[in-house]
Homo-oligomer: 304 residues x 2
Amino acid sequence: MTDLPDRISLREVGPRDGLQNEEPVPTEAKVELIDALSHTGVGRIEAVSFVHPKAIPQMADADEVWSRVRRAGDVRYSALVPNLRGAERALDAGFTELEVVVSASDTHNRKNVNRSTEESLDDIAKIIDLAHGRGATCQVIVSTAWGCPYEGDVPVERVVGAASRAVRDGADSASFGDTTGMATPPRVTRLVGEFRMANPDTSLNLHFHNTRGTGLANVLAALQLGVADFDASVGGLGGCPYAPGATGNIASEELVHMVEDMGVATGVDLEALIDVAARAETMVGHTLPSQVLRAGPRSRTISP
Amino acid sequence: MTDLPDRISLREVGPRDGLQNEEPVPTEAKVELIDALSHTGVGRIEAVSFVHPKAIPQMADADEVWSRVRRAGDVRYSALVPNLRGAERALDAGFTELEVVVSASDTHNRKNVNRSTEESLDDIAKIIDLAHGRGATCQVIVSTAWGCPYEGDVPVERVVGAASRAVRDGADSASFGDTTGMATPPRVTRLVGEFRMANPDTSLNLHFHNTRGTGLANVLAALQLGVADFDASVGGLGGCPYAPGATGNIASEELVHMVEDMGVATGVDLEALIDVAARAETMVGHTLPSQVLRAGPRSRTISP
């Protein structure tokens, strides 16, 4: 295991991807969550999404949340945008890192946004141009990258094709999302390999779900390929509302706990992160899936 | 990932390790569980333990359970024994595969059986002799192999030393138990490597817990070393009653689901195993941790 990266960059997606898939919480709680995360050592936070309030009421107050957040100088904040209108709102709010999503599965994409994958990629090209015109970066996130709950397997060529098209259209980086937890280690190895062959100079983020228990095994497989950029959600907040059976993001504490013990630095203060996870649990009012929140880090012993 | 084994042997520990750590269920339910598992393709089942009824009331009916089980010809059944008396009971009941446990951590061993690790190893030598004298095999299971909830890290030398002593005393195989889920992939790599250096001809089983989410990542690391013998518990039944914070065994369905998708055969019919996990959940009356029980295998699609 000597080829592991020395360090990974963790993008904390709890405030957006997490809370978007929970019952709505007050604006104040969202601000509190982002502010608390900003002091854990996490280098990047996906803060909000600028979606239509009718589609996703959980993010209706995105502007207000963002205006009230006390931004930390050493944290990069990003916003997810579903379309040109959302991108304009995000840019107007001062975001300099945008994310756009397209599903590699046509059926899944149509269920979400009533368009084909290609039509969404056409829209994404315009959003990238808009972002660049205003000095911001734009990442393309390809969801259902390891399988679609409706279609089953999605051909790797199709997944890489969608990402590559956006890269050609100017996307600054790419991310693959395992929307319903259908990835397994060899599938991670294959997709990462094929993407890199097609896009050797493009930075790659991976976003795993733990729907079938393989989340950290997939992280391990990716680390062994030198991937050093992962999404995770504090406490394991959230999931995908469009994906029946989805049980949500890998927990940030579990990711940090495992990779730090492997000698891979994250910059995160694990105990501080666990404290935030406990607050997030209180915030949403139900047990979160994070095992490390429950058990504590392996270093936490008890008296005999 | 080309050095993976073609096939692994799964020992299903739900009926013993699982049920021993749940509220007691009726004898009939235990028999039903073992009988159902016997028809899933699982090659080995840890059926019961012959412990003192006062210590572990869940296993007070071990003799009756075993006498009522309809043994399948293609399944190997084993029993855990805590001492010579238990070994005699198991052998009298007709078991030909025994397991004995010792904790690598002195503190943990004393908490469990009020003896030092060395004293337990002395006892184990006698149990091995007894088993061999009656034509049975005996596996030594070294618990707290990747850490102790009281002592924290346990030196690898100590863990390998305990296993090696039992191997010298005649143990037919060894198993390392991650009692409270403190293993991470590089720790798996290191312990397996050190054990093999000391005992190149001894068969090795690994028993992981998912207490901190690393269960399947640890399996992946072990597979990459060619380890081909794992414990898992249907539905994720059970845990360790002596280990505060323990959340139990990795779920058999999650293990089978992941490794089969990696091209590693298990012989298990996953859908049949999921059906048994659902019955086990009804049996214990609470939600079990298995994610694949919840979400189904990745191949199970839904209508758009």
